[in-house]
């Protein structure tokens, strides 16, 4: 049985069905991310202290530029098909896929940086904050700084006049508690990983669909080019939405 309205426009909606479907889906996505943004606002406003400068701004900026680039290549891929140029579509979407992988690579590096970043509470009350260099049975080495209390830990990242981090050797017997900057560390890391993790899942999902169309789309392009072009448009709408979410995530998490 043939699926109706894959290319022809319905009289009542004025659109082909997939376009109505993707916009309804995107509407639900707006509410999903809206709920998370709302949670972010409430957590931030309700926190006694909120860390600033914990994320790498140059990397966040680079990722923003990468996603914007992927957005233009996505729309250019669709426009290429509209102009009947399948070769150019392949080229533009190859760039889109490279951008997606670059984005995920940078994000993975940032996540890794948080997972090797430790806050070590010593038995004498001081705190050591920095990146784990060595993790042995009897001692650990942190490339970081000493802090008197939690306020100083937050301040360490905000103050630019501090000396460079130095290696600090700590006996395990001197450690009261230590924890890395994973999602469990505090409210900030929890909402950071939730928001960016969900966004990264969307990037992965979108990239898989774009890869499928890029790698296996040739057959449909030959048999039903208009339907294929519509599929590319639908995947593109999703990809632009992913870019749109990041446009708000970047300043909210990295800059403010």
């Amino acid at each position: 049985m043939e699926i109706p309205y894959t290319t022809e426009v319905r009289k009542d909606t004025g659109l082909y069905n997939a376009k109505v479907g993707i916009w309804l889906f995107l509407a639900s996505e707006v509410m999903l991310f809206g709920a998370l943004f709302s949670s972010y606002i409430l957590l931030r406003v309700g926190a006694v202290e909120w860390p600033y400068g914990w994320l790498n701004i140059p990397l966040g900026t680079a990722n923003t530029l990468v996603l914007i680039t992927s957005s233009i290549t996505t729309v250019m891929a669709w426009a290429s098909l509209k102009m009947g140029n399948f070769g150019r579509f392949k080229m533009y979407h190859a760039i889109t896929l490279c951008c997606a992988l670059t984005f995920l690579g940078i994000k993975s590096y940032e996540y890794h940086d948080k997972f090797i970043h430790y806050q070590v509470d010593l038995k004498d009350g001081r705190i050591v904050d920095g990146h784990m260099e060595e993790n042995n049975k009897d001692e650990i080495v942190i490339l970081g700084r000493y802090a008197k209390n939690m306020h100083d830990v937050l301040d360490l990242h905000e103050r630019k006049d501090l000396a460079k981090p130095a290696p600090i050797k700590i006996e395990r017997s001197d450690i009261a508690y230590m924890e890395n900057y994973g999602p469990w560390h505090n409210t900030y890391t929890a909402i950071y990983f939730t928001l960016t993790g969900l966004h990264a899942l969307h990037v992965i999902g979108g990239a898989i669909v774009i890869f499928y169309l890029w790698a296996f789309g040739g057959k449909m392009w030959k048999s039903d080019p208009e339907r294929f072009t519509n599929r590319v448009e639908i995947s593109g709408l999703f990809w632009h939405f992913v870019d749109l979410v990041w446009i708000f995530l970047f300043p909210v998490l990295y800059l403010l």
Binding site: V30, A79, P251
Partner: protein, 115 residues
Amino acid sequence: MSESQAKSQTHAQPHDEHFSHHVRRYLYVFYALLFGTLITVGASFIPFGSRGANIAVALFIAGGKAFLVAGYFMHLISERKMIYGVLGFTAFFFAGLMALTLWSFADFPPHTITH
């Protein structure tokens, strides 16, 4: 070349000029988005008097960038009524969600909102 592909390419010829115009517009939007990103980063280092003011400036720029992506890359400036209807409902409920969030600020004890 299959019949449908040939049909598509024949169909595409009159559209070429039309789409070339669109492509130029996409490029302008792309440059504006790159510029907007740099402005966002630059503005975050300028003290506008309070953190709230900095947040407002950053969200204003982000809103402008979002308009460019949604309006031109997602073609919302020239969409069908039905899409506007769907997005109208979404905007209504999103605004309601944010209004409830802001309303809840009244539940915080005085002078505790510092961020």
